[in-house]
Symmetry: C2
Subunit: 363 residues, 2 copies
C-alpha cells in the first residue's frame, strides 16, 4: 500500500477525529475508497476503537429512490440508534461516478432529507470527519490524470496543520470582534452581520470544531445578509453541474436567484425548507496547498483566494455557549464558491482585511 494512504489514515484518526481507546466509530466507505478504508480500519484497531463500516454508494442511493414511493419514514430506528451510539462518524468519500445520483427527483431528495433530520443531528453530534480517497472518478471530475490527482489530494491533506492553525487565528481574532463583513468582487457586493458570532479556526480537527480533511479555512455564521453575490467557481450540486449562480438577498433571505447552468438544481435546494433561503456559513479559504479548482467542494472551498457561502444549516460552533439554537435550521447545507483573486476585497467593519486574495498580514 502507498505510504501516503497510511499517512492519510493516521492523520484522520489521530489529528482530525482524535479517536480514543474504546470509541465506537462508524466508517462510511465510498465504493472506490476501499484502500483508504483498509488503512483507516487498521489505525482504528490500533487505537482500540470499535468499528462499524457502512457502504456509502451513490448507485445504491439512486436505486432506493428508484424503488421508493417518496413518502419516507422519519428517522428509522436502526440507523438512528447506530449514529446516536457512535462517538465518531468518519466519511471516506470516493465513488465511481460523481453524477451517480443526478437523476434522483428533487422532491424525493428533499422529502428524504427532511425525514432524516434526527439521523443528521446524531452524526453532527459526534466527532465527525469528512475526507476523500483519490479515485479515478474524482480525478476525471477534476480534469486531471490519476497520478497527478493523487499528488493534488495528498498535498492538500498531508500538511502542517498546527502551523496553518496559527495563521488562521489571525483572521478569527479579527472576525470575533467584528460586527459586519462586506464582500466585493465582480458581480458581488454583499454585507452580512457577524455580531455575537464565533469564528471557527478550521484546521482539520474536531479539537478545532473542524470536520473536514483537508480543511484550511475560517468560517462563521452570517446574519441579516443584504445585496448580491455571483459564484463564479463552477460546481456540482446534488450530481448536477452549476455555474455562475447569482443570488440576491434582502433581510437575510434569498429573494432572487439565477444561474448560467443548473438553475433548477439551485431552485430545488432553495425549496427544501425555510432555512434553505438563508445563509448558514461564510467561509474564507486559506489552504495554499490547494492550488486549483477540482469540482469537489471538500477541496474547492478551502482553496486560498476563495470565499464560500452556504445556503441552509449553520454550525452550532459559530454561536456562543447557550446560543446554539439561534443557528439557521435547515435539512440542507450547500456551499457555493466565488473567486476573490482579482478585483475583490473583504472588509470587516470598514477595514480591508484581504485584497485580491492577499491578507493584510501577507502584504
Amino acid at each position: 500500500m502507498d505510504d501516503r494512504v497510511r499517512e492519510h489514515a493516521r492523520t484522520l484518526i489521530t489529528w482530525s477525529a482524535r479517536i480514543e481507546d474504546g470509541d465506537d466509530v462508524v466508517v462510511r466507505v465510498g465504493p472506490d475508497a476501499h484502500d483508504l478504508a483498509v488503512a483507516v480500519v487498521e489505525e482504528l484497531g490500533r487505537a482500540g476503537a470499535n468499528v462499524v463500516t457502512t457502504y456509502d454508494s451513490g448507485e445504491l442511493t439512486r436505486a432506493y429512490f428508484e424503488g421508493h414511493d417518496e413518502e419516507f419514514d422519519v428517522d428509522p430506528p436502526h440507523e438512528l440508534a447506530l449514529l446516536e451510539n457512535a462517538d465518531s462518524v468518519l466519511t471516506l468519500g470516493g465513488g465511481r461516478n460523481a453524477a451517480a445520483t443526478a437523476d434522483v427527483p428533487d422532491a424525493a431528495r428533499q422529502a428524504y432529507d427532511r425525514a432524516r433530520r434526527g439521523i443528521s443531528e446524531a452524526r453532527l453530534d459526534s466527532k465527525w470527519v469528512l475526507t476523500a480517497h483519490p479515485t479515478r472518478s474524482l480525478a476525471q471530475q477534476a480534469g486531471m490524470s490519476y497520478a497527478e490527482y493523487q499528488e493534488f489530494v495528498y498535498d492538500a491533506v498531508l500538511r502542517d496543520w498546527e502551523e496553518l492553525a496559527a495563521e488562521q487565528a489571525k483572521v478569527t481574532d479579527v472576525l470575533d470582534d467584528a460586527s459586519e463583513v462586506r464582500l466585493v468582487s465582480p458581480g458581488t457586493d454583499l454585507t452580512m452581520s457577524v455580531e455575537d458570532r464565533v469564528a471557527v479556526n478550521s484546521a482539520a480537527s474536531v479539537d478545532y470544531d473542524s470536520h473536514n480533511l483537508p480543511s484550511g479555512e475560517v468560517f462563521t455564521a452570517p446574519d441579516a445578509t443584504a445585496g448580491e453575490v455571483t459564484f463564479d467557481v463552477p460546481m456540482t450540486v446534488n450530481g448536477r453541474r452549476v455555474r455562475d449562480v447569482y443570488l440576491r438577498f434582502e433581510d437575510g433571505r434569498v429573494v432572487e436567484h439565477d444561474a448560467a447552468e443548473g438553475a433548477d438544481a439551485i431552485e430545488a435546494v432553495l425549496e427544501t425548507d425555510a432555512g434553505a433561503r438563508r445563509l448558514g456559513e461564510l467561509g474564507i479559504g486559506m489552504n495554499r496547498g490547494i492550488d486549483r479548482v477540482t469540482d469537489n467542494v471538500l477541496f474547492d472551498e478551502k482553496m486560498g483566494d476563495t470565499v464560500h457561502l452556504a445556503l441552509g444549516r449553520a454550525y452550532a460552533s459559530n454561536f456562543p455557549p447557550g446560543h446554539e439554537e439561534e443557528a439557521n435550521d435547515s435539512a440542507v447545507h450547500v456551499d457555493l464558491i466565488t473567486d476573490v483573486s482579482e478585483d475583490s476585497r473583504i472588509e470587516v467593519d470598514g477595514e480591508v482585511i484581504q485584497r485580491n486574495g492577499t491578507f493584510w498580514f501577507e502584504e
Copy 2:
C-alpha cells in the same frame, strides 16, 4: 443489469426475507456484491423498507485484527443497537479473495467472536438471510469460468421453492417422530439422538425457519452423538483449506480429531468454547439444482447426496417452544460435509430412509 440479478433480489426480498412496509433492514454488502446490492436496495425501496447498508469486507476485517491488541470490547453499543433495531439482516456475500482473512490469528478470531455474542444473537433474532452474488473470486474458488459459475448460482437460487418444500416435508415428517439417526458411509458410522427435536424444512424462507438463499435441506439439532465421521468434501474454514476432517464423538463431545489438510483450522474451531466440541446441526442436502461441490458452504451443504454436521451453535428453531434454551451454545457454527452418494445410508430408528443418495420415496 442482468435480469437474473433482479430476479435474485426479488426472491430474496419477497420469498426469503418476507420484507414488509416499514421494515428496518440492514444489508451487508460484500465488496464485489455491488450489482446485487443495487437490485436489492431498489426492491427494498419498492417494499417501503428503511435501509442501512454495511460494508462487509474480509480485507477490512483482516486490517482491524492487524491493528488491534486482541482484547475486544464486549458488544460495542453502536453495532448492537443497529442490529437490535433491525427487523431483517440480509447478507450479500461476494468478496474478491476467499482467503482474505487466512492470516488472522485464531486466538484473535476466537476472542472477537466471544466478545460479540450479543451482536450475533441480535442478528439471529431478526429475519436474517444469507445469500451470495456470483463473483469472479467465488468462480475461481469453484474452479469454474465466470459465465458458467453465474449459471450455477442462478440454477441453485431461482427454483420453485414451494415444490421443494413439499418434497422436503416427507423427510421432516419422519425426523419429527424419530429418536435416533445413524449415518453410515466410508470412514463414518455415527449415531445421534433427535428425540424431542423439531426438523426444519429449509426452503429458503424465514417463514420456513430457513435463512439461506439458496437453501434446500432438512436440518435438526442432534444430541448424544457417538461414533466417528469423515468429511470427504473439501472446504474452506475461516479462510483455510480443510480436507478429510475426521472426528470421533463420545457422549456428544468431540474426543479425537484429525484432517488430511487444515487440522489446525479445525483445532482452532474446537477450542473456541465448550459448545464448539458439540454438534449444533445435522443437515441433509436436497437441492438437486446444485450439481457439484464449489468450495462454498452456502451451496455445498444444500447439494443432493450430501449430509452435513455443524460444530457449535444450534438453531432455536430445532427445539419445541419453551425448550429453545436447550440448544447447544457456542460462538461458532462451522459446517462440515460428507458425500453420501456411494456406499452410504441414513437410518432413522433402524429404518433406511436414504441409500446412496436416494430417498425411500425416490426409488
